[in-house]
């Protein structure tokens, strides 16, 4: 039964046992970690492709259109065609651009957004490295891309890109704080920063989103801040096409643009994954459906795609905030609510412990 629920984990265990017999322990661990990393690095772009396809089709349906349906059955191969197109395009570097910054920026951004995935567990024991400070690590990595955005904005020698870069600095920094405070609630409730521990804590009690008021508020804060962190509507000021043409990646084309694109969607998946883990019970089967022998990572994917759908749905509906409204919203609305929420969580926990004692 457990093998069926966690086939990849079982496979990994078998492989680990086999490697241990022929290799020293440290080498076996290194090989297994490398394997895990390469799987993640391969899977995340695949996820991104599905998200791009889903986004285009779902947006189209919401707008009474059909969306891409020419390449392959139902247009399923459209993302591949997109990638091929981007790869085949000319790679342009503006004449007066700062070449070093211009070239390293997309690499940095993509690197940061892929590194988040190092610690996200897809099932029991199914994380490349299950860090005991997982939440902290994810938040730290989530803060890195801003560096890349500013580098891209400055290095492009373009005023729109510069404005986009400046906006990104302000926006990502500001929304980091509500995101952290939102994520702090599950951490307090679970009593651990390890992501797998948080999931296990939810399996033992209830999903943290079902904690009355505290849980929902924290979830909402985390999602809104997550939208802002991944530059999604209504917080897509960094690349606001009606104002800044394309923001920090105005001057990017071809593969370098594709890297930014990949990073944006990988970030979106990371936010969805984190929301799933922190609030939606991670890989646990929902609504007592545990009797079904469905692998854990499938549940995890399903929840993640539900979150992606919500992101796309929001994109289909809402207009964009203005720069000052955005800052106002972060610092004057979300931050106080988040602080109060954290305090309330502490009080509730204290009372609960007192009662237990």
């Amino acid at each position: 039964m457990d093998v069926l629920r966690n086939p990849i984990g079982a496979l990994g265990g078998l492989l680990h046992g086999f490697l241990l017999q022929i290799l020293p322990t440290w080498l076996a661990d290194v090989i297994l970690s490398l394997l895990a990393v390469s799987i993640v690095v391969a899977i995340v772009p695949l996820l991104v492709m599905t998200a791009v396809f889903l986004e285009r089709r779902i947006l189209a349906k919401m707008q009474d259109r059909i969306g891409p349906n020419r390449v392959g059955p139902f247009g399923l191969l459209q993302p591949i065609a997109d990638v091929v197109k981007l790869l085949a395009k000319e790679d342009i570097i503006p004449a007066r651009a700062d070449r070093v910054l211009f070239i390293t920026a997309p690499i940095l951004v993509v690197g940061a957004s892929l590194m988040i995935w190092a610690t996200i567990p897809w099932g029991a024991g199914l994380a490349p490295t299950d860090l005991n400070v997982g939440v902290l690590y994810v938040i730290a990595m989530g803060g890195l891309p801003v560096l890349g955005f500013i580098m891209a904005g400055w290095g492009s020698y373009n005023k729109y890109a510069l404005l986009g870069g400046m906006r990104s600095a302000a926006q990502l920094m500001s929304y980091e704080i509500p995101a952290i405070l939102g994520a702090l609630v599950p951490v307090m409730l679970a009593g651990s920063m390890q992501l797998s521990e948080i999931v296990l804590a939810q399996q033992n009690s209830v999903w943290f989103i079902f904690f009355p008021i505290i849980g929902q508020l924290a979830f909402a804060l985390f999602i809104v801040a997550g939208l802002a962190e991944s530059n999604r509507t209504p917080f897509d000021l960094i690349e606001a096409e009606s104002e800044l043409v394309a923001g920090f990646h105005t001057e990017y084309s071809g593969m370098r643009f594709a890297l930014f694109f990949l990073a944006e969607y990988a970030n979106m998946f990371a936010i969805s994954g984190m929301a799933t883990i922190l609030f939606l019970g991670g890989w646990a089967a929902p609504f007592g459906l545990d009797f079904l022998t469905i692998p854990h990572f499938i549940w995890f994917l399903v929840k993640m795609y539900v979150m992606i759908f919500v992101f796309i749905w929001i994109r289909a509906t809402l207009p964009r905030l203005r720069y000052d409204q955005l800052m106002h919203f972060a610092w004057k609305r979300m931050l106080p609510i988040a602080l109060i929420n954290v305090a309330a969580t502490g009080i509730v926990l204290g009372i609960a412990r007192g009662l237990v004692r």
Binding site: M62, L163, S242
Partner: protein, 378 residues
């Protein structure tokens, strides 16, 4: 950097913190080839210079080299989103000049097609305004969905969707097909629900309100000083509508209201357009109800050769007061062909409104003006 536009930017060391941003002529939200030179301090606009003329096609000069009939095709291409009112304004001017009569049925048809055209134009205005405010094209697509049906109706009556040349002096070019009336009735019946749908996406949306309320405040005095007309003036509390102020055609026979709002901001301009769409629907409903039989074209000479003289005719286009000024020297083509293009005149106040706002607001204000560059530059 600015040669060609006749603009000199003087380097001022005190303004070292300022940045000059060229918005346009190629920019996603300048609605064509319009250029705004923005002086920015951070993201705040401290100076604006609108530059027009990138789409200049010398329509007015071409009109002087065409016969009166041929010049109709030029009017289509000015405000290409509402060609019917352009045709009509020109036709009014020629009728005044040559003293032509318009039969009853033609007057009714004119009102139908130009009110439909007004709805179509406002749909584009609202849709692109939503896109300027940052919605991911959903209001735009919804608006274009119904605009398609209006264009299909134009297809039925004029044989073409975009440049109909349908309203001619002395009447209209072709009679309505019976199914035009039917389709138009069906369209009019469902249109109010569709307007509700556009509104559900924008009107009450807190983000949209935050983006548009209090943005680009145009006081009535300023509006009058710049002779701003159309929905923009009516959003500033000036109840001026040529259809009411100086009724042309048969507008005085129908029961409708001039929507006026008093905020003078981008949100009110949007709301006035929404209200005008509803009023236009009502007008078309009334016109369709008592569409008379009869001729569609009055008595006309084979070749139109108006007597010497001049004429100015105006009407309420979707963008504002649209006027044609023609001078005839007695020949077959106008001696002078001048257009009072509402988009162009409304656009002149843009600079005053934008200063002090953010870059993002500049886009919203421009979007709320609903300009068509084909008309601005002509």
């Amino acid at each position: 950097m600015f040669e060609g536009a006749g603009i000199e930017i003087v380097e001022n060391p005190e303004l070292a913190d300022e940045m000059t941003l060229n918005m346009g002529p190629q920019h996603p939200s300048t609605h064509g080839v319009f250029r705004l030179i923005l002086q920015l301090e951070g993201e705040t606009v401290v100076g604006v210079r609108p530059v027009m003329g990138y789409l200049h096609r010398s329509t007015e000069k071409l009109g002087e080299a065409r016969t009166y009939v041929q010049a109709v095709t030029l009017t289509d291409r000015m405000d290409y989103l509402a060609p019917m009112t352009n045709n009509w304004a020109y036709a009014l001017a020629v009728e005044k000049l040559a003293g032509l009569e318009v039969p009853e049925r033609a007057e009714y048809i004119r009102v139908i097609v130009s009110e439909l055209g007004r709805i179509a134009s406002h749909q584009v205005a609202i849709g692109t305004f939503g896109a300027d405010a940052g919605t991911w094209f959903t209001p735009l697509v919804y608006a274009f969905r119904e605009r398609e049906e209006i264009l299909d109706l134009f297809m039925l009556c004029a044989g073409v969707r975009m440049n109909p040349s349908y309203i001619r002096f002395g009447g209209v070019a072709r009679d309505l097909q019976p199914e035009f009336v039917e389709h138009a009735r069906r369209f009019i019946d469902k249109m109010p629900r569709k307007i509700d749908e556009y509104e559900s996406l924008l009107t009450n949306n807190e983000i949209f309100q935050g983006r548009t309320k209090g943005i680009g405040l145009l006081p009535p005095e300023l509006a009058k000083a710049y002779s701003v007309t159309g929905p923009i003036a009516r959003a500033s509390g000036i109840p001026y509508d040529v259809r009411r102020a100086e009724p042309y055609g048969i507008y005085d026979r129908f029961d409708w209201e001039v929507p006026v709002r008093f905020g003078g901001d981008a949100y009110d301009r949007y709301m006035v357009r929404i209200a005008e769409m509803r009023e236009s629907v009502e007008i078309v409903r009334q016109v369709l109800a008592d569409l008379p039989e009869g001729d569609i074209r009055g008595k006309m000479p084979k070749i139109v050769r108006p007597p010497k003289g001049e004429a100015y005719a105006r009407l309420e286009g979707p963008k504002g007061e649209l006027g044609f000024y023609l001078i005839s020297d007695g020949s077959t083509s106008p001696y002078r062909f001048k257009v009072r293009a509402p988009s162009f005149i409304n656009l002149n106040v843009l600079g005053e409104l934008t200063i002090g706002h953010k870059v993002a607001d500049a886009v919203v204000i421009l979007g709320s003006f609903d300009i068509v560059m084909g008309e601005v530059d002509r």
